[in-house]
Symmetry: C2
Subunit: 263 residues, 2 copies
């Protein structure tokens, strides 16, 4: 919103909005002759008529979602309180004439092989147009703390198989691979155990994103940059699970990637 105007975003709506704004129907504030950069950015989004977006991952995606609130766009806890909620809220609030359906199927503690175990129900049957995956932190973490026997190699193999399987059944699905991250100094993180070992998993995710020509969300840099401004306690107290502020940063960076995809 700029100067109190609600800016709805969609080609059809843009025309309608202009008409409504001219008539003062949508105008809560002053009209500007030229849209600002921000308005231009928003109105340049080209969304298809129907758009189903699936967010997959572990606890960072799950973020306390209510498992029995299973439907798209659930407004009562089904999308959790993490980055998915501000993403879905903005997409739905700004694009009211697109038929956007947002699902959250993140489950705490999951590793990539556990996504595979529930992929039929929790991805393929949903038939997403856009699939966003954030997975990997437990694939490493649980080797330290849960006796998990997986390796970077099994992470890579399982991740590639998951994308192959997805694209075989849903060849038009656009995929967003999110970088698994940890925030240094977090209370659950012993840095010398995590670095550089965990970077192998991050490099694999990045390489897979590149090999499959998917969209890449660089969350590690997001949090590295954010630590220059405020503490790990502020952004992500245990180093793994972001605060509300940290979730907002993730949402902004995710949306930035999404908007570039959709231009």
């Amino acid at each position: 919103m700029q100067n109190g105007k609600l800016n709805f975003n969609n080609r059809r709506t843009f025309l309608k909005k202009t008409t409504l704004a001219s008539a003062g129907v949508l105008g809560l504030g002053n009209l500007q002759a030229e849209p600002s950069l921000y308005e231009k950015e928003k109105t340049n989004l080209k969304l298809p008529k129907d758009l189903t977006i699936l967010f997959q991952g572990d606890s960072i995606t799950d973020a306390g979602r209510k498992r029995d609130h299973y439907y798209a766009n659930d407004a009562w806890g089904g999308l959790g309180s993490g980055y998915v909620l501000p993403v879905a809220s903005e997409l739905l609030g700004k694009n009211p004439t697109s038929n956007i359906q947002c699902y959250n199927r993140g489950i705490s503690g999951h590793k990539v092989f556990q996504l595979a175990n529930r992929w039929e129900e929790d991805c393929l049957q949903i038939q997403p147009d856009v699939l966003s995956i954030l997975i990997g932190v437990n694939d490493f973490w649980h080797t330290l703390s849960h006796g998990y026997k997986g390796t970077a190699r099994s992470y890579e193999d399982d991740f590639r198989k998951l994308l192959d399987r997805t694209l075989k059944q849903l060849p038009d699905c656009k995929i967003i691979v999110c970088e698994p991250f940890v925030v240094k100094g977090g209370s659950a993180i012993v840095e010398k155990e995590w670095f550089p070992a965990f970077m192998a998993y991050q490099n694999i995710a990045r390489k897979i994103s590149s090999d499959y020509n998917t969209n890449w969300v660089p969350f590690q840099k997001t949090f590295d940059d954010a630590l220059e401004v405020a503490s790990v306690e502020y952004w992500c107290p245990d180093g793994v699970h972001p605060s509300l502020g940290g979730g907002y940063l993730m949402a902004e960076v995710w949306l930035d990637v999404f908007k570039k995809m959709m231009k």
Copy 2:
């Protein structure tokens, strides 16, 4: 965010951000010589060092929050999935060097007298610097459906007493009164029962906001305008409880009022 840059908002941070951005530390994208209008709007916010914000109300504020997640800025469902979450997320994400504490104490079904019954614990002890109240829809609705015997007069009396009591104990508290609203055509609303009777409650809230020189959030107009663009099913299916998209509109309008307060 504009062009991938994270814009942190605070006078101290603005200086720091400039330094960091010049050094490329925060720069995820191209630097611009002149900030956009959007960036200017954000960096003009003047927040105090410490800022406790309390959201009070009924189910619209509650929005499925987890009652046992009681602490400020809870990232696992304690703030619900309604307008409070995108508001708190943005405030925390954009203002990392302000000590912002956001509490949600909305409870489904509550009327203004029920806020009064729990005001000591759920407001005065929290000592908010900013108190946002959205109350009134049940004060009318429950006269139709729950045999509630309250009247517009008792709503007004109770509301004024609540503000008197708050300002007596917390004289520096800034108050935001949000307009109670219903969205016409919603499945739980019989229009001829609601209008014009409910408007008396809206007029009372507006008059109280004016009399107490508080900040006013015009939610009815927000939704009236939104209905020009998409259906009541899209924004607020039952006419009372907003969708995620509807919650986003509320958050944008609320933040617009807040930003004007803080300039």
